[in-house]
Symmetry: C2
Subunit: 184 residues, 2 copies
């Protein structure tokens, strides 16, 4: 594993444990097994490291979801695929998923360019827009539907994180049925 990725992974873990400002760069370097100064060869500043960590997770997630999304033709099946993949990914990478929330609710998020934020939403918004136009889900503002689906996913994640693992698949299916009952 290259030092860039190693530093980002270590950062995500430590930021989650101790918060952004509660984690000194010296500790990140130490836990990643590199010298203090090395960190600043890969990232010009701590803030840059935090933002890069966020972007790397968003990229990773976007790549995972893209693969699972191409095959289906039916738009509801596509939505179910995205929904299921998102939840499965989140439950498989709780540290990273929690980091996204932590970042989103921090002052660093406001420093991102509008464009960067939109970049990762656009694919989902397009899918929702198409589903509305096809009449597959009820006619509401796409942004509202996106907010409702995202938070529904997040709510299920919160529940499943502490619930017993063997019911996960069933609860995810039920969760999607509930979502569709609401949106159609």
């Amino acid at each position: 594993m290259d030092k860039h990725s190693l530093l980002i992974d270590t950062s995500i873990r430590l930021f989650h444990e101790k918060g952004f400002h509660g984690t000194p760069t010296s500790l990140i370097a130490k836990e990643a097994g590199v010298a203090n100064g090395t960190l600043f060869q890969y990232f010009p500043s701590k803030e840059n490291l935090i933002v890069e960590a966020y972007i790397s997770i968003k990229e990773e997630m976007a790549n995972e979801l893209k693969i699972n999304k191409e095959s289906n033709a039916n738009i509801i099946d596509q939505m179910k695929d995205v929904f299921t993949s998102s939840l499965t990914w989140a439950l498989a990478h709780p540290l990273k998923f929690d980091f996204l929330q932590q970042f989103y609710n921090s002052p660093y998020h406001h420093k991102l360019k509008e464009q960067t934020i939109k970049k990762y939403d656009q694919t989902h918004l397009d899918l929702i827009q198409e589903a509305i136009e096809q009449g597959a889900i009820r006619s509401l503002p796409a942004n509202l539907v996106y907010a409702l689906i995202s938070s529904h996913t997040y709510g299920l994640y919160q529940y499943l994180r502490v619930a017993s693992h063997d019911q996960r698949k069933k609860v995810i299916d039920t969760g999607f049925e509930l979502l569709m009952k609401m949106l159609t």
Copy 2:
């Protein structure tokens, strides 16, 4: 306004702007118009101040919702009342509502006693449990329903915070209808 409340209100604003560790206690004291040392007479440590700020918001919210909840007999009306009041309160106090999210996604939240967290959930869980027993909403684990309602509320909040204000009442009503469509 007494200094205790003044310091908490100032903290909430600054923590939201600059994050927990990004806000020095000296700045909180300065903006609250008291001396550095005075802050530590009201709060033994910065961590204590952060936790007290969280608890004060939870208390305030609990008190607001309690008042609006007593009158109705019909359980669906009660739920609608809690839902509407929660959203209205959140939209009227976005700084405080955002602080709750920020706190929840920070390492400080893990330091709270289990009991303290449950304290503010219990009333809502009881209401949900009763609604399930009465058959007013479908039979699902109360914790799951709670997670779904909470996140649904949060999703609507996120949408309404940026949407135009004059549609708020209508969107909140629609939001509750959607929620009930899902849960019945």
